[in-house]
């Protein structure tokens, strides 16, 4: 494959990633949100694989495989299982003001590109243009965490935030050292398990997974 095609393909994947984050930001059904998260992981794994192929970085193959295993198969499967067990599969979240959220999201993307500019100037290699997109997906996931009221959507937003960071690592530095990546993957997996335990505890105590019940602790 000639270089320019690869570059275009990677850019296409990055654009897709940004699109998926925006789709997640406006998605109201929890089931679709989880599916979008799986797609995000898939695009991430694919782009890591392409970067690994073109730069001949062998450890990136491992990261791509790890992403595929963890973020496309294991985590979505766990989340699907959870929503089935918790019987919230068809839950719809009432998101107020999707257009405003989208506008804030666009502003965040512009901000991310500006913030990433000095790093992009310094970066070498084919992935330099992607740092801005990576930072944008991190910020958009943060926004998603702020706007969500259901525990599961907040967790999906958290995982999508982690995906954005992973994308930043592959695009800015061709991946972190393998030990660190394995450690991060382990943390994410354990975190998802603990989130799962939490869902049951929260539901048992509040009879709902709506976080609006959990705004009692305040300084007054």
């Amino acid at each position: 494959m000639p270089m320019s095609y690869t570059l275009q393909f990677i850019n296409l994947l990055a654009a897709l990633l940004l699109l998926i984050v925006f789709a997640m930001l406006s998605q109201r059904r929890i089931l679709s949100l989880i599916n979008l998260f799986a797609w995000q992981g898939f695009v991430l794994a694919l782009s890591t694989f392409v970067v690994a192929y073109t730069t001949a970085q062998h450890h990136l193959y491992y990261s791509a495989a790890l992403t595929l295993l963890l973020k496309v198969l294991v985590l979505p499967w766990l989340l699907h299982r959870l929503i089935r067990k918790l019987n919230v599969k068809w839950d719809v979240e009432t998101l107020i003001n999707i257009p405003t959220t989208m506008l804030v999201g666009i502003a965040l993307v512009i901000f991310a590109f500006n913030l990433a500019d000095p790093i992009t100037q310094l970066a070498q290699g084919i992935t330099r243009g992607l740092i801005g997109i990576a930072l944008a997906s991190v910020l958009l996931s943060l926004l998603m965490m702020l706007t969500r009221r259901k525990a599961i959507s907040q967790v999906v937003a958290f995982l999508s935030l982690e995906n954005g960071l992973f994308f930043a690592a592959t695009s800015a530095t061709q991946g972190m050292p393998l030990v660190v990546e394995l450690g991060i993957a382990l943390d994410v997996l354990v975190a998802t398990f603990i989130f799962g335990i939490f869902f049951f505890q929260i539901r048992e105590t509040f009879d709902s997974l709506d976080l609006t019940h959990m705004e009692k602790l305040k300084d007054d």
């Binding site: 935030l161 050292p177 660190v180 991060i184 975190a191 603990i194 939490f198 009692k216």
Partner: protein, 485 residues
Amino acid sequence: MIDLQLLALLLTPLFGGGLLAVFGSRRWAAELNSLMSGFTFLASVLLTMRVIDSGPQVAFSEQFFIDQFNVFLVALTAFVAFTTSLFSRPYMRIEQHHGKLSTPMLHLYYSMYQLFTFTMLVALTTNNMGIIWVAMEAATLTTVLLVSLYRTPASLEAAWKYFILCGVGIALALFGTILLYFAAERVLGEGGNALLWTHLNQVKADLEPTVLKLAFVFLLVGYGTKIGLVPLHSWLPDAHAEGPTPVSAVLSGLLLNVALCAVMRSKVLVDGSLGTHFAGNLMMGFGLLSVVVAALFLSRQKDIKRMFAYSSIEHMGLITFAFGMGGPVATFAGMLHMTMHSLTKSAIFFAVGHAVQKTGTQQMEHIRGLLQVSPTVGWGLILSTFAILGMPPFGVFASEFLIITTAMHEYPWSTPILLTALGIAFAAIFGKIQPIVFGETTAKPLPHPPALIPVFVHLLLVLILGLYMPPYLANWYRQAAALLG
């Protein structure tokens, strides 16, 4: 070589966690927990002696790095973890008798307590900036289920907040770490070595300043969430107030220090790269803001554990401010204050834990006349309150005095702000604790005396260090301060 001591230090709590995961429901689980923490403390003493004798060194193909600075935190962490395990033995039993905790909950608690110690020790001793991140996140994961141990609505809310906010914070720290690696890769080449702190420290002058600047902002905000710096602190009072008291003691006395250690490691690199006081200024700003805001919030608290959580924010702000000023004296004072705060604050939480257990409420207006109910708890609480408020002759006075005189010398404008905030904090805390201890009560004295040896051991140490600092200890701290610059 320090391989053996380090191995003992790290494997003891890991093994203990595994052991208690199996035997955590047995009657002797509490004793086993204390025993493992005791061994960990012993290993930390051996390690400290070696490092003080022979200086900074790396171990296990440079994956771990011990110098005077982190070994001081290792010793402190292992010591407070040990005394807290001693305190938690009778405390958690009484909680179980009161029906607040079941055996499976205690099982979880003991196992996680050891694993939490393990993650903190890894975060302190690792040489890899990426592994610091992994260990800090793991420390959150091990404690989050402990915060919600009582399964009350409030504790679940606190744990969820802790999980989400620290998760987001630590994610930002990961972005900072990625940027650091990005800058390092250009100098050190790809591969695992580019995140090793010792390697980075050697080439810090060549690291790209613009990238490091951005990286430090992310690292400070990320780990700062964990330190509890204002405005990233909102998880801290909830987690401290709703979790079991031994967990509050280790969160407040230890975890905050470990996060600050990670920030200090980054600061050394950023200072070397920029050659300006950028990192220091940022830390001073966050530190000062935390001191002021926490002092203002103190007087509004009704819950006793929540109030002392705000006091932790205040003191961590003060330490961050001292480290931000930099220079040998301020850094020395910051480390001294770290020690004093850890010892005193955990002592306070021990005393508060017993007081709350006796009266059955955390609301300060309902706790009265502790001296009549139980003189040991009453004196323990009032003395440790005096200590944390910086009254002479306790050690907190010495460290606060050093910080403020340095501030007067270097940044005179900050002194009135600091002094006012400390004054407000004094009035708020003393005004609330005084009636709790000396007030009139109708409650009957307790039949059996509480076991509060850890409180008085900590207070004695704080008192001794306030009156007399042994030369070798002062020398050790001075060496560590020199390493941080």
